[in-house]
């Protein structure tokens, strides 16, 4: 073997496929990091395996998401997934956010999505290569699972009113 061999430029290609520019951009400059005051939905998620943490607050108006707040730390995949998610949730109904979450999870499980479904996921498509890294899938879906937990909790609270 020759462990000292040089690593040439194009060897990053496969990596670039995983770490799309969009992912690295959201990782370095995560969006919507402010805490939302008086949120309707509040949820926290934790992945003890790698120590990723996500806290999420959502404000609703007329059944639609108007504000999203995110505090996250962890690996690039978790952080970027969380950050991109906050952008995608704006103006969606809760119904729609849950559908998005299911679609994203399906994509992570390597399921084949239709053109239309992919369209709905918009820039979240950049995460599609994560499904080739089983151990990283948990990272990508953590923010979405957290969202679903929050929605579920909110809805059960609604029922009891």
């Amino acid at each position: 073997m020759n462990p000292g061999q040089d690593i040439s430029q194009n060897l990053f290609e496969e990596l670039d496929d995983l770490y799309q520019d969009l992912i690295l951009d959201h990782y370095r400059r995560p969006r919507n990091q402010q805490q939302v005051a008086d949120p309707d939905i509040c949820a926290e998620g934790h992945n003890p395996f790698c120590g990723d943490r996500v806290a999420l607050q959502i404000k609703l108006e007329d059944g639609r998401v108007t504000q999203v707040g995110l505090q996250s730390h962890g690996c690039s995949i978790t952080q970027a997934s969380a950050s991109k998610m906050t952008e995608l949730l704006k103006d969606k109904t809760l119904e729609e956010t849950v559908i998005l979450s299911k679609l994203f999870t399906a994509m992570m499980q390597g399921k084949k999505l239709t053109e239309e479904e992919l369209e709905r996921l918009g820039e979240m498509k950049a995460f599609s290569a994560v499904c080739k890294y089983p151990i990283r899938i948990k990272c990508a879906v953590l923010p979405w699972n957290t969202l679903e937990d929050g929605v579920k909790h909110y809805r059960s609270g609604q029922k009891h009113r």
């Binding site: 073997m1 462990p3 060897l11 770490y19 395996f49 790698c50 120590g51 690996c75 990283r136």
Partner: protein
């Protein structure tokens, strides 16, 4: 040690088109051809059950199985009747917790351990403490893994029944002063259990010298297959212990309502054991003895010292554990302030370099180090300096890749 690389078939494979650089030896080691062949030879030539058959195969197998026990015993300076084959370190420690501890830990008693234990040397004692109304105490330590021996003055009391500690931290690489601790524990009448999962494969270990009462270790971290491990128990202690699992082989005479137990150590090996694994462990031990454990240790000191120096070239990277290579094994855990270990691990894998990332089954230690995860490179006999170079250089590239700046060559978008 370069010449022994050819003994390990896996070292010539490629990962993602790159030569494999295997630096996850603290998780499990690779296997030399002799060990792999011992397994197939066993199944092709000898396969039978142990201790039960009058036929030739059965006798051959029993001889080889007991021969393996003797080899393992010699390897750690123990008598063969103190060697119990288990599934690994975890099962060995659990065995002690369900047998000796159940019988000897009473309400109000204390079990002393450290904050840097692998979960397998923590959770069994949490359970025992809870079940028996005892308490679990911890020897304070520095973040580098140095145990506060002065704290033993007050921590070791007449109520201390067991001191259970690792011989080498699987995160920090820190080697603990087991001998000194054992001496002081025995003065108070406590027994000492040593988790040797990381030490037995890498440094010369002699149970007479350590003077421990229990020693647990795993075959798969020392060139042998998975599913075979060892619990050494000081024979005087073993004689007092009730069996762990009950069933075939471990009983001498059985009536409908009672039974008597077989000799030591068979009494603690109920059911058909991992015969092929035990025999292959014997071959692994031969291999290590052939190299000489002093040489193994020296090789790892050299490599670790070299790696510690080279790691200092990495920007914003904290390296955990002792700096003195005499006090640490070939394990280097590290953290970059800006790039998560997980991303570093994925990047390295793309270059064929296998390291571990995560909490390494030592979550309380992560808390103490104030990190949620670390990267960990760990060495063994077949690792060479060129691999350390590649590790450090690839880490440099990874850090550049994930750090803002002109890091990537522009390339056409996918669409």
């Amino acid at each position: 040690m370069v010449s022994i690389r050819k003994d390990f078939p896996i070292l010539s494979r490629q990962v993602r088109g790159k030569p494999l650089v295997y630096l996850d030896n603290a998780a499990t080691s690779q296997k030399p051809r002799a060990v792999i062949q011992a397994l197939s030879e066993y199944y092709e030539q000898h396969n039978a059950n142990v201790h039960r058959a009058v036929h030739t195969l059965g006798q051959e197998v029993t001889e080889r199985y007991e021969e393996a026990r003797q080899k393992v015993a010699d390897f750690i300076g123990a008598p063969a009747e103190g060697i119990i084959f288990t599934r690994g370190t975890t099962e060995a420690i659990n065995l002690v917790s369900y047998t000796w501890a159940e019988a000897n830990i009473s309400p109000g008693d204390e079990i002393l351990t450290t904050p840097m234990e692998h979960h397998s040397n923590l959770l069994p004692w949490q359970r025992v403490a809870q079940a028996r109304g005892a308490s679990l105490k911890f020897i304070p330590m520095s973040p580098q893994g140095t145990l506060s021996l002065s704290a033993l003055d007050t921590l070791l009391t007449e109520r201390t029944k067991l001191v259970a500690l690792t011989h080498m931290s699987n995160v920090l690489g820190a080697i603990t002063p087991v001998k000194e601790i054992a001496r002081r524990a025995h003065e108070k009448g406590a027994l000492v259990l040593v988790d040797g999962a990381q030490s037995v494969p890498h440094i010369p270990v002699d149970v007479k010298d350590l003077d421990c009462d229990f020693l647990a270790f795993s075959g798969h971290k020392m060139l042998a297959p998975t599913g075979i491990g060892v619990l050494y128990v000081r024979p005087q202690v073993l004689e007092t212990m009730e069996p762990f699992q009950l069933g075939g082989e471990m009983a001498r005479e059985v009536w409908l309502d009672r039974a008597t137990w077989n000799d030591l150590p068979i009494r603690f090996e109920a059911g058909t054991p991992n015969i092929a694994g035990a025999i292959a462990l014997g071959v692994a031990v031969d291999y290590l003895r052939n190299l000489g454990m002093e040489r193994v240790r020296e090789h790892e000191i050299q490599l670790t010292g070299y790696a510690l120096v080279r790691f200092q070239e990495l920007p914003n990277t904290e390296v955990f554990g002792p700096w003195d290579t005499q006090q640490r094994g070939g394990i280097i855990s590290f953290c970059h302030t800006g790039v998560h270990s997980h991303d570093l691990g994925t990047f390295l894998d793309h270059e064929g370099v296998a390291i571990r990332v995560g909490h390494h089954c030592a979550m309380p230690l992560m808390e103490l180090l104030k990190v949620s995860a670390t990267g960990r490179a760990s060495f063994y006999i077949y690792n060479i300096k060129a691999e350390v170079d590649l590790l450090v250089e690839t880490l440099q590239k990874a850090i550049r890749y994930f750090t803002p700046g002109p890091r990537r060559v522009a390339r056409p978008t996918n669409s």
